[in-house]
């Protein structure tokens, strides 16, 4: 008997309806507002234009649709920049007011989880410095990276429950001339994409009904402070997070299930940098090969920096070892932008990804040679000094 003979997902006939009054964990937001009343900290409110989504234990979470302060991801912007470009492109398409700050630092959690050369005070101070910067310009933080998101949720939790940590961070912020301010909700960009899915589908120009995808939910999205992740009784019967899957299904994509969905991607923080043998083996053997054997998808979609990087880059070595690989890896923001007609190279910037994605694009009807030539024409103009940069207008030409 192979894995594929086992009916993995019985969720369709076992819908889970969470009752928030029976939640096993308290609602941190109530404690936050109480601390605000006591003058311990300030809470930044979600701006008016928001949508409510349901979380694991049936509570609701406000997802701001605009006035968002984009807390970028160093790994995304640095190594797979079409990921973030697609998030911004979507905001621009809907004419939403957003802010792309230059007074933002990395969350520094990658380093923290990898090397432990930091401590809770430093980690909390870095988070609050970023949150205060968002508040200063009147925008609400939206977090691009799954690890930053999970880490900030942990920081918020620690600040609520550890008075000594609050005292130290308050003093540091005083020295920096900043407030100790905490957002009412910690929001991941993929929650924004999910909240926007109907609007995205209304403007979909590329039929995706012939596509089968697998989904990898990022560990730090749904395993850290798990009560804050989005669940929906219509998606996996609310037995797993609805993130990504809800978006893809709305775009007409068939989402296939596979037995190792709960496994991590193999990133490992320090492993991806200095012990990549582990990352490669795990990623290929526990994720990519299983997806191909059990689902044979056209693409796998995820929503975190490390996951896209590890699942994508590890396949090169897998190929050399004769493993079943060759599965394109993208983020939900890239798929959503593609569905609305974004340019695969000028906006999605797919040339930064390693695993060949041409067959996937061609299945969707894209003329990849022509599109690549269009991108190359932009590069030529830059090389010839005709322009310094490619603009948003150029990207949509």
């Amino acid at each position: 008997m192979s894995f594929s003979d086992i009916p993995i997902l019985k969720a369709e006939d076992r819908k889970f309806k969470a009752d928030p009054t029976k939640a096993p964990k308290s609602d941190l937001r109530e404690e936050l507002f109480q601390l605000e009343k006591e003058g311990e900290l300030e809470v930044q409110r979600v701006p008016d234009n928001y949508m409510e989504l349901t979380t694991k234990y049936g509570r609701t979470k406000k997802i701001p649709l605009e006035k968002t302060w984009h807390h970028k991801s160093c790994g995304q912007c640095g190594h797979i920049p079409g990921y973030s470009a697609s998030i911004f492109w979507l905001n621009r398409q809907f004419g939403l007011d957003y802010h792309d700050p230059t007074d933002q630092t990395s969350c520094t959690a990658w380093n923290y989880y990898a090397s432990a050369t930091s401590n809770p005070e430093a980690q909390a101070a870095v988070a609050i410095r970023n949150f205060a910067a968002a508040d200063e310009v009147g925008y609400f933080p939206i977090i691009h990276c799954g690890t930053s998101f999970g880490h900030y949720k942990e920081v918020r939790h620690a600040l609520v429950h550890q008075p000594e940590l609050r005292r130290k961070v308050r003093k540091i912020m005083e020295k920096l001339g900043k407030k100790l301010i905490v957002p009412e909700e910690i929001v991941h960009y993929s929650e924004w994409v999910l909240a926007m899915k109907d609007k995205i589908a209304e403007r979909q120009t590329v039929d995706m009904s012939m596509i089968t995808a697998t989904v990898h939910p990022a560990c730090h999205y749904h395993k850290l402070v798990e009560e804050d992740a989005i669940y929906d009784s219509e998606i996996y019967g609310a037995q797993r997070t609805a993130i990504i899957t809800g978006t893809l299904q709305k775009l007409g994509i068939n989402v296939g299930d596979y037995s190792t969905w709960y496994d991590c991607c193999g990133f490992g923080f320090r492993h991806i940098l200095v012990s990549r043998d582990f990352s490669r083996s795990f990623s290929v053997q526990r994720k990519i090969e299983v997806m191909i054997e059990e689902v044979n998808p056209d693409v796998t979609v995820t929503h975190d920096t490390g996951c896209v990087t590890t699942l994508d880059q590890s396949q090169f070595a897998g190929k050399a070892h004769g493993k079943k690989v060759g599965l394109p890896v993208m983020s939900d923001s890239q798929i959503a932008a593609l569905a609305m007609g974004a340019h695969p190279y000028k906006v999605l910037q797919l040339h930064w990804h390693n695993t060949d994605n041409k067959a996937f694009l061609q299945k969707l009807g894209f003329d990849t040679d022509k599109l690549w030539a269009e991108f190359q024409a932009e590069i030529k103009e830059i090389k010839d000094g005709k322009k310094q940069y490619m603009s948003w207008e150029d990207a949509d030409r």
Binding site: A85, S106, S115, T117, C264, G266, N354, M390, W392
Partner: protein
């Protein structure tokens, strides 16, 4: 896979008092009371653990050792095993509400803070990341995509490295045209980050694991802090 040597008193050069002291430091962490409630030895954490599949590594063993306060075994684990963890927190599905991953986070911090030799070994080759995050404000950057750093990512990395400057210019968001940082970061923001590192004692941690790196970082930071008008960065 290298088998983990768990023989008793493996680190006989370290006194039991020192091993007890290190464990006391682990237990004095503010997070401690939320990460360990005893252990059923059910192994659910091991079943969920990616590192347990490819290393002789077990979150159950770690949870058990700390629950039993077996400071000799804890020292052995702190000297080796903890660096195999992927920090994915899949083990948070523990039915006892333990978080072996977070126990490991705390053990790593204590290992680094006390300059354990194995912490230095585990972090060898990691200096460029620490350098980036301490000094530039983004942990990784486009110019790190070099073939010698990622030979197993194939020819693709050569293509990126060869075209880096032009490809960065061909990114529509105005903040992403950088190569040394992942986005444009204001000078004032970097100075604020330096102040955070100083005020929270992170600089001392770096000195403990890599003195050479510490000297380089301090040189750059002090100059920039002085330029920005900060001559006293001490903090209570």
């Amino acid at each position: 896979m290298m088998a983990l040597d768990l023989s008793q008193n493996k680190h006989s050069d370290v006194s039991m008092d020192e091993k007890d002291r290190l464990f006391d430091e682990v237990k004095s962490d503010e997070r401690w009371e939320h990460v360990l409630y005893g252990c059923y030895e059910c192994g659910i954490c091991v079943a969920a653990c990616p590192s347990a599949r490819f290393y002789d590594f077990s979150p159950r063993l770690i949870a058990q050792a700390v629950a039993r306060e077996d400071t000799d075994l804890i020292y052995t684990l702190m000297s080796d095993s903890i660096w195999d963890c992927s920090q994915c927190f899949s083990c948070d599905r523990c039915p006892r509400q333990n978080s072996p991953g977070q126990i490991i986070t705390i053990m790593r911090e204590v290992a680094v803070k006390n300059g354990l030799g194995t912490a230095k070994e585990a972090l060898a080759g990691y200096g460029r990341i620490i350098y980036k995050i301490m000094l530039t404000g983004t942990q990784v950057s486009p110019d790190m995509l070099q073939p010698d750093a990622f030979p197993d990512w194939g020819t693709h990395v050569y293509e990126i490295a060869d075209n880096l400057d032009d490809w960065r210019r061909a990114l529509p968001p105005e903040t992403l045209h950088t190569t040394e940082t992942s986005w444009v970061i204001d000078d004032k923001t970097i100075i604020e980050l330096y102040l955070i590192w100083h005020m929270t004692g992170v600089m001392d941690l770096i000195a403990g694991v890599d003195e050479g790196l510490y000297d380089i970082i301090v040189d750059v930071m002090e100059e920039r802090l002085e330029e920005a008008g900060y001559d006293d960065v001490t903090f209570d």
